[in-house]
C-alpha cells in the first residue's frame, strides 16, 4: 500500500520537491532581488512606465545623449555606430519603450551567428563551461539556500551564459578588448579560480605584462599574431567561442582519469595548441607533470577526507547532524539528517552550517587545490608549489583538530549544542529568507 503511494507523492512534488530537479526553477533558485541586467530570464520587476511610444535609433539618441551620455559616447566610438546603416539602440533593445529588452546572445547572434553557435555548442561538454555557468549556479544548494541579496554577486559572473557583454563590454563591444587577458579577470579571480594570479605569474603572463600593451590587439587570435598568448590565445584559439571541449581536468576540483577515451581526445586538442609554439616533447612533458601534480593533490585531499569520515563514523563531529540546519533543497535531510563530507558532496560544506574542521577541508579542496592546479596548468610552478604547501599546512591543522575532537568526543555527551548552531541573528534570517 505504502509503496504504491510513493510514486504518486513523488509526482505531486511532496517527497521530491521540484527544486532538486536539475534545470528546474523554483522559489529557492529564483533571484527575485536581482537585477534584470544580470539575469534577463528572471526579471520580475515592472518596466518603467513613464516613457510610452516606439522610437527609432536616432530618436533614442536625442534623449539619451543627455540622460545617459556615457553609453552614447561609448557607442559612437564602436563599430556598431559606423557605416551607412549603424546598429543603433533599437536594433538591440527594440523600439517599444515599454518592451525594451536587454540583448541576450540570441539577439547578438542575428549578426554574429558563429560565436553564438559555438558557445551554444559548449552545452554538449558539460561543466565547466560559459554556456552552463548560470544553470550550474542556480541549481546549486549553496545558491538556493541563501538570501538572494547575499548571493547577488554570484550572478555578476555566472550570467555569462546569457550575455555577450561580460567580455565584450558595452557599449563599445570591441573584440580587441575581449582578446586581452584583463577582460577575463573580473570573474576568473579569487580563491576558487585564481586564473589571474596563475596566468600573470606564469612566463606567458610575465611576457604579456612586460610588452603586451604594445601588441596590436586588433589582430585575430591566430598562430603567429602574438608573441605570447593571453587567456584567449590558448582557450579561444582562432577566436573560437567553444572553450569547454578541452576541459578535462575540470578546474582541479574533481579527480579525473586522464586516460579515458574522451580525455585522450581532449588532451590532443590541448597539445595541438601548445605545439603551435613549443616542440612536441615539451608539450607532452607538460601534461605528464600536470597529471603528476593532480595525483599528488588528490592524495593529500583523500587522506584528510578519510580522517573526517572517521570522525563522522564515531559521531565526534560538532555539531552532530541533528544539530545542523538542514538544507531545504535536500528533501530527505529533515528525516534522515546526515553530515556530508567529501569533494562530491563538498559544495554543501562551503557555508555556515558545518563545523570548523569541515570548513578547513572545504577551503583546502576548493581554494588551495584549484590554486595548485591552475598554477601548474598555466606554468606558474612557484604558485603551484606554494598552494601544495598550504594544503600540507591545512592537513596538519585538521589532524590536530581531529585529535581535539576525539578527546572531546570522549567527554560529556549530553551537552545541547542545538541552540549554538540553529539559532542566532543571521542563522534565523537565513532560514526565513532564502
Amino acid at each position: 500500500m505504502l509503496l504504491a503511494i510513493v510514486p504518486f507523492l513523488i509526482a505531486a512534488g511532496w517527497l521530491w520537491p521540484v527544486s532538486v530537479c536539475a534545470g528546474q526553477e523554483n522559489r529557492l533558485q529564483r533571484g527575485d532581488a536581482i537585477s534584470a541586467d544580470r539575469e534577463p530570464r528572471i526579471d520580475s520587476r515592472p518596466q518603467d512606465r513613464k516613457v510610452i511610444g516606439t522610437f527609432k535609433g536616432e530618436e533614442c539618441l536625442e534623449c539619451h545623449a543627455t540622460l545617459t551620455p556615457g553609453i552614447v559616447k561609448d557607442w559612437r566610438q564602436s563599430r556598431h555606430a559606423r557605416g551607412e546603416n549603424p546598429v543603433d539602440c533599437s536594433a538591440c533593445h527594440g523600439h517599444d519603450h515599454q518592451r525594451l529588452r536587454l540583448p541576450a546572445p540570441a539577439i547578438c547572434g542575428q549578426c554574429h551567428p558563429r560565436p553564438v553557435a559555438q558557445m551554444e555548442e559548449e552545452k554538449r561538454y558539460g561543466f565547466p563551461s560559459h554556456a552552463l555557468a548560470l544553470e550550474r549556479l542556480t541549481d546549486s544548494s549553496a545558491f538556493a539556500e541563501k538570501p538572494k541579496a547575499e548571493v547577488a554577486a554570484c550572478l555578476h559572473c555566472h550570467s555569462v551564459a546569457q550575455r555577450c557583454d561580460s567580455c565584450h563590454t558595452r557599449h563599445r563591444f570591441a573584440a580587441a578588448e575581449a582578446r586581452r587577458p584583463e577582460a577575463c579577470i573580473t570573474c576568473h579571480t579569487g580563491p576558487p579560480h585564481p586564473d589571474d594570479q596563475s596566468y600573470f605569474s606564469s612566463p606567458h603572463g610575465l611576457f604579456y605584462l612586460r610588452e603586451g600593451k604594445k601588441w596590436d590587439w586588433n589582430r585575430p587570435l591566430r598562430r603567429g599574431n602574438y608573441p605570447a598568448p593571453g587567456c584567449a590565445g590558448c582557450h579561444m584559439t582562432n577566436g573560437r567561442h567553444l572553450i569547454a571541449d578541452k576541459s578535462l581536468w575540470k578546474s582541479g576540483i574533481r579527480e579525473i582519469n586522464p586516460r579515458t577515451a574522451e580525455n585522450t581526445i581532449k588532451r590532443k586538442r590541448w597539445s595541438a595548441i601548445c605545439k603551435e609554439c613549443h616542440p612536441s616533447p615539451i608539450a607532452e612533458d607538460f601534461f605528464l607533470s600536470l597529471d603528476e601534480e593532480r595525483g599528488s593533490a588528490w592524495k593529500k585531499l583523500y587522506a584528510v577526507e578519510d580522517q573526517l569520515k572517521a570522525l563522522r563514523r564515531h559521531g565526534w563531529l560538532l555539531p552532530k547532524a541533528t544539530d545542523r540546519p538542514h538544507f531545504s533543497t535536500d528533501p530527505w535531510g529533515q528525516w534522515f539528517p546526515r553530515v556530508r563530507i567529501g569533494d562530491l558532496e563538498g559544495m554543501e560544506s562551503a557555508f555556515y552550517n558545518v563545523s570548523a574542521v569541515e570548513r578547513d577541508y572545504f577551503e583546502m579542496w576548493y581554494f588551495a587545490n584549484p590554486g595548485a592546479y591552475k598554477g601548474m596548468a598555466h606554468g606558474a610552478r612557484k604558485m603551484s608549489s606554494g598552494c601544495h604547501d598550504l594544503m600540507i599546512d591545512t592537513s596538519r591543522t585538521i589532524a590536530t583538530q581531529t585529535e581535539r575532537l576525539k578527546l572531546l568526543g570522549k567527554m560529556v555527551k549530553d551537552v545541547d549544542l542545538k541552540r549554538v548552531w540553529m539559532d542566532g541573528e543571521y542563522t534565523r534570517f537565513n532560514r526565513d529568507n532564502h
Partner: protein, 259 residues
C-alpha cells in the same frame, strides 16, 4: 557652483608652488572647492594638500594629472585591488592609452569611471561623502552639505539606467545588512565564549577581527561592483569565521560541562 581648475588660464609659473600658497588664490576662484577640501576628514590640510595629487608645477596639466587613477592607487591599495578587478577598472586599464584626462569628471566623459569620477563627483573635493556609495549619509553629514543618496545615484546614471542603479543600491544595501547580521551573531557567540573561558576567547577575538576585513571587502566589492570581494572574500569568508566561532563555543561548552 563648483568650477574645477581646468581650463582657467593661469599666469604660468613653472617653478614649484609651495603647498600653502594654493588656497590663497584658489579661494577667490572657487570658494566651495577649497572649503570642501578643508572640511574633509582625511584629505584635509596638513595631511593631503593640493600638491599631493596635482603636483606643484603650474604647467596647465595640474587638473589632468590629478584625474588619473595613479594618483590615488599609491595610498589606497585595498580599494585599488577591488576597483582594478572590477569591470570599470579592467576597462580603464585596457583603455588607458586613449584616455583624455583634460575632460571634466562628468557627462560620461570617460570610457569607464576613474576613481575621481565617482569619489570627486563633478570635481567636488568633498571626498568623504562618497567613500561609501550605498550608505545614506548621517544627519550630521547632510547638515554640512553631503550629497543626498539620490544625488550620488545620479552619478551612475551618466551611463546606466535608473532601474539598474536602483537595483544595485538596493541589493548592495541588503547585502551589507546581511553581512552586519553575521558579524553581530559572531559577536554574540564571542561574548558567550568570553563568559565561559577567557583563554579560548583570545583565539575568538582574532577570528572576530578577521571578520572586519571580510566586511570591508564586501563594502568595497559593492561600491566597485567587484563580485569576488562581495562573495568569496566577503560573504563566504564571513560564513567561515562565524562557524569557526561557533565551533570554538561548542568546544568550550563541552569542556566546561566535563568534570
Amino acid at each position: 557652483m563648483t568650477v574645477a581648475m581646468t581650463g582657467i588660464s593661469h599666469a604660468m609659473r613653472m617653478e614649484p608652488t609651495p603647498p600653502n600658497a594654493c588656497p590663497e588664490c584658489h579661494r577667490q576662484r572657487d570658494q566651495d572647492l577649497v572649503q570642501d577640501w578643508e572640511r574633509s576628514p582625511r584629505h584635509r590640510p596638513g595631511r593631503v594638500d593640493c600638491s599631493s595629487c596635482h603636483g606643484s608645477i603650474h604647467d596647465g596639466a595640474m587638473a589632468a594629472r590629478a584625474r588619473k587613477n595613479e594618483v590615488c592607487l599609491g595610498c589606497h591599495p585595498r580599494e585599488s585591488a577591488s576597483y582594478l578587478i572590477s569591470k570599470h577598472g579592467v576597462i580603464l586599464t585596457l583603455a588607458a592609452e586613449d584616455g583624455d584626462y583634460s575632460r571634466w569628471l562628468s557627462d560620461g566623459n570617460y570610457r569607464s569611471p576613474t576613481c575621481g569620477y565617482c569619489h570627486l563627483p563633478r570635481g567636488r573635493h568633498s571626498l568623504q561623502w562618497t567613500s561609501d556609495p550605498v550608505a545614506e549619509p548621517s544627519p550630521l553629514m547632510t547638515a554640512v552639505g553631503a550629497p543626498h543618496r539620490e544625488w550620488r545615484m545620479a552619478l551612475c546614471q551618466d551611463c546606466h539606467s535608473r532601474r539598474l542603479v536602483e537595483d544595485w543600491f538596493r541589493i548592495g544595501t541588503e547585502g551589507l545588512a546581511i553581512a552586519a547580521m553575521k558579524v553581530r551573531e559572531g559577536e554574540a557567540v564571542l561574548r558567550e565564549i568570553v563568559r565561559r573561558d577567557p583563554f579560548a576567547a583570545l583565539h575568538g577575538h582574532v577570528i572576530r577581527q578577521r571578520m572586519d576585513r571580510h566586511l570591508t571587502n564586501i563594502r568595497l566589492g559593492v561600491g566597485h561592483q567587484s563580485p569576488d570581494g562581495q562573495w568569496w572574500r566577503g560573504q563566504a569568508a564571513l560564513d567561515g569565521d562565524l562557524l569557526r566561532l561557533k565551533s570554538l563555543l561548542s568546544e568550550v561548552m563541552i569542556r566546561s560541562a566535563s568534570p
